[in-house]
């Protein structure tokens, strides 16, 4: 006999309604505004964008032309796009390499230190991203502490120009800024890991390394993926980090290009179109993640 649910479905739906309305209004509404701007026109006198609120009036020529400028090999902004993909790939990989051991230790090994470590992981998130990055500008200055320590240790002979348009500085800053957001969802995933699987692996003769590689990592795959999505997506649109720790066009990311156009007097429609294509790209990645999560959930629940 089929069990009656504790709460009727319509009650659950009603509980979700305020949140859904909020998302529709403030997320959906702003996205619609972006598309309307990207497909709209420009006031010929004051060069202010005139969004096309009616979908029947959407003009796609700007979208098409801007989209072409992002494609390899001759797209004008392909260098910025490819640079973004490379920076984000390296930064996300670094987040995984740095964040996984931390999350693993806190979830599966830490005992009394679990609480304090979690606090240390959360505290930076109480400070705005901008301020955390600004702190790095002082640290990385020619006479900043990083150079002083490196010179004291004899690692470098003189001050390194960290802020002089180095891709490595941008990547390191991205990792620094986003790694807490990778660690926390992964920690949550590892926390929920059924320890009996690990015990079973031990009982079957697997050593620590094999247990980690063939049991722990696969079981935490969804957590890794969640962390990658949580840090990879915002990194892709990041412009502030590069502006702050580099400011050089040779490290410009696609977010910087969008920022230039968004702040321009005459070409905000182009900026909106660039933002639209970035959104489409990220939405495709996100959709893949959602599909993969749903598949994993079905595999578990049957």
């Amino acid at each position: 006999m089929k069990r009656k649910p504790i709460y009727p479905r319509r009650h659950l739906a009603a509980l979700g309604l305020p949140g859904a309305l909020w998302v529709l209004l403030f997320v959906g509404g702003s996205l619609y505004g972006l598309i309307a701007t990207a497909t709209g026109t420009v006031d010929p006198l004051l060069f202010q964008p005139r969004p096309a609120w009616n979908p029947l009036n959407w003009g796609v020529s700007t979208l098409g032309q801007v989209g072409n400028s992002l494609l390899p090999p001759a797209g004008l902004y392909w260098p910025a796009v490819s640079r973004t993909l490379v920076f984000v790939a390296i930064a996300v990989a670094a987040c995984v390499l740095i964040g996984y051991p931390v999350a693993y230790f806190v979830a599966l090994r830490a005992r009394r230190s679990k609480g304090p470590i979690l606090v240390l992981l959360v505290v930076p998130l109480l400070v705005s991203y901008m301020l955390r990055m600004l702190a790095w500008v002082g640290l990385l200055a020619p006479d900043g502490y990083v150079n002083r320590v490196l010179q004291e240790l004899g690692i470098v002979g003189g001050p390194v120009n960290w802020l002089g348009g180095r891709p490595s500085t941008v990547v390191i800053a991205l990792v620094y800024g986003w790694v807490p957001y990778f660690i926390l969802p992964l920690y949550a995933s590892l926390e929920r890991l059924d320890r009996r699987y690990l015990e079973a692996a031990n009982d079957l003769g697997a050593g620590r390394v094999r247990t980690f590689l063939f049991v722990t990592v696969p079981l935490s795959a969804q957590g890794i993926l969640a962390g990658v999505v949580l840090v990879g997506l915002p990194m892709t649109g990041d412009f502030f980090t590069n502006d702050l720790v580099s400011g050089s066009p040779r490290t410009s990311m696609i977010g910087n290009v969008i920022n230039v156009y968004a702040n321009s007097i005459t070409q905000q429609v182009t900026g909106a179109a660039l933002a639209f294509w970035l959104l489409v790209f990220l939405a495709v990645l996100l959709a893949n993640y959602v599909r993969s999560s749903a598949r994993a959930m079905r595999a578990v629940t049957g």
């Binding site: 003009g59 032309q65 348009g165 040779r250 070409q267």
Partner: protein, 431 residues
């Protein structure tokens, strides 16, 4: 940045290559498409008809001739946008002043409030686009604001600002002659001058041994300097700013007549700098002060602030600034204007008049770091008022010759605006 477009044909130089057209014009065409769809076809056609001129000046928005320094333009006054009549009493206020952030001395505000017995509400903006949006939409009911020269014809054609009645502004006589009837607004029909500034070469002389003044072409120092990779800054407050440096390096001083080929070359030249790590930035004072940069294309106002960021053991004389004494460098200015729908236009006029007094100019110099183009303001007066280190004041003082002969960013046609913006976007994206 809109200015006289040279006529087609031999004056424009060699045509851009197809590759260049494909790469950069894809985005200028995007803007063109958006303008065309908006019904601006006639506007585009007008601005692209380079042969369409009036007395040698290209036609810009609303049929208004594009002004240049050698070709000042008297802006039209429309029948449905007349100046207020003379002799009106000031309104009760409050006066809403809409200005850039950190650009106005509180002392000037207080003295106005005291003199006229009204309160002043100061609201700030951080970009001209933000300001125009808010003024045009009525989101801010400003009575007086600080727009940009490059868009003045647009504001006039759109009737966003109102003509001024000089009977309320006798202190306009305090302004330098070249600013009492500026090239961009002959007879000052819509504006009174705010600040004037130069964009020159600033460097930390304790970290970099250069002497631009002794060079045949001082602007080349950015390209010939050694030991400064990754420590050079270029101005990007306006898309034309970095382009102006490259044009000056090539000896091109007629900014308003810069051709597409010259702009393309400027981008190529600048890419040589950005390829070595040169940065595009709004201000340079912090970078020069902390030493993260040793050489920068910088406003003179930035140099005024550098000593605040120097290490405590470094004197103010660690910074140097060069600008050509003959004035052949970038000199720009801005102005006060009154929105057409200002609720307190008489107070707005009185504000403009109040602004043009020597003491207020001294207060603004001390607190905002910029110079008003007043004939009544002098370097000795600034030194006597101790607004800044005398060494720095000597470096950054804008002489009347420089103010009169300097090279402003051009008022561009729609096509030039697209060209400058796309060139800047290509440069800043690292393409």
């Amino acid at each position: 940045m809109r200015d006289q477009q040279p006529p087609d044909g031999p004056h424009e130089g060699p045509r851009p290559t197809a590759t260049h057209l494909t790469r950069r014009s894809v985005l200028t065409r995007a803007l063109g498409g958006a303008l065309a769809l908006s019904g601006g076809e006639s506007l585009l056609a007008a601005s692209r008809a380079l042969a369409a001129t009036v007395n040698g000046a290209a036609i810009g928005v609303g049929g208004i001739p594009i002004a240049t320094k050698t070709h000042p333009v008297k802006l039209p006054i429309y029948s449905d946008n007349r100046p207020i009549p003379a002799g009106r009493k000031p309104e009760k206020g409050p006066l809403v002043v809409f200005d850039w952030g950190s650009y106005l001395s509180n002392s000037v505000v207080s003295s106005f409030e005291k003199q006229y017995g009204v309160s002043v509400q100061l609201t700030t903006f951080s970009s001209i686009d933000e300001a125009v949006k808010k003024i045009a939409s009525g989101a801010i009911a400003a009575d007086v604001w600080v727009p940009v020269v490059e868009e003045l014809p647009n504001y006039v054609a759109a009737k966003l600002i109102q003509p001024i009645n000089h009977s309320y502004i006798p202190n306009l006589a305090n302004a330098l002659p070249s600013f009492q009837s500026p090239w961009y607004d002959a007879e000052a029909q819509y504006s009174i001058p705010n600040y004037v500034w130069t964009t020159g070469i600033a460097w930390r002389n304790d970290l970099l041994k250069i002497d631009p003044a002794s060079m045949k072409n001082p602007w080349e120092v950015f390209w010939t300097v050694s030991g400064a990779n990754g420590k050079i800054g270029l101005q990007n407050a306006d898309p034309f700013d970095p382009l102006s440096l490259a044009l000056l390096k090539r000896g091109i001083t007629n900014f308003s007549a810069a051709t597409t080929a010259q702009i393309n070359q400027a981008v190529s030249d600048l890419k040589q700098l950005t390829g070595k790590g040169a940065k595009l930035q709004y201000t340079a004072f912090q970078q020069l002060g902390t030493g993260t940069e040793v050489l920068a294309q910088a406003w003179n106002g930035d140099v005024l602030l550098v000593p605040q960021y120097l290490p405590s053991h470094k004197p103010a004389t660690s910074i140097s600034y060069w600008f050509p004494s003959n004035g052949e460098g970038s000199v720009n200015s801005d102005y006060w204007a009154i929105p057409k729908n200002a609720k307190h236009p008489v107070l707005a006029h009185l504000w403009m008049n109040h602004f043009l007094q020597e003491q207020n100019a001294i207060d603004n110099y001390r607190d905002a770091g910029y110079q008003q183009p007043l004939s009544t303001l002098s370097l000795p007066a600034l030194k006597a008022a101790k607004v800044a280190d005398p060494y720095i004041l000597d470096l950054v003082w804008v002489t009347p010759t420089e103010a009169a002969k300097g090279l402003p960013n051009p008022i561009p046609t729609a096509q030039q605006s697209e060209l400058f913006q796309s060139a800047f976007a290509e440069l800043s994206s690292g393409a």
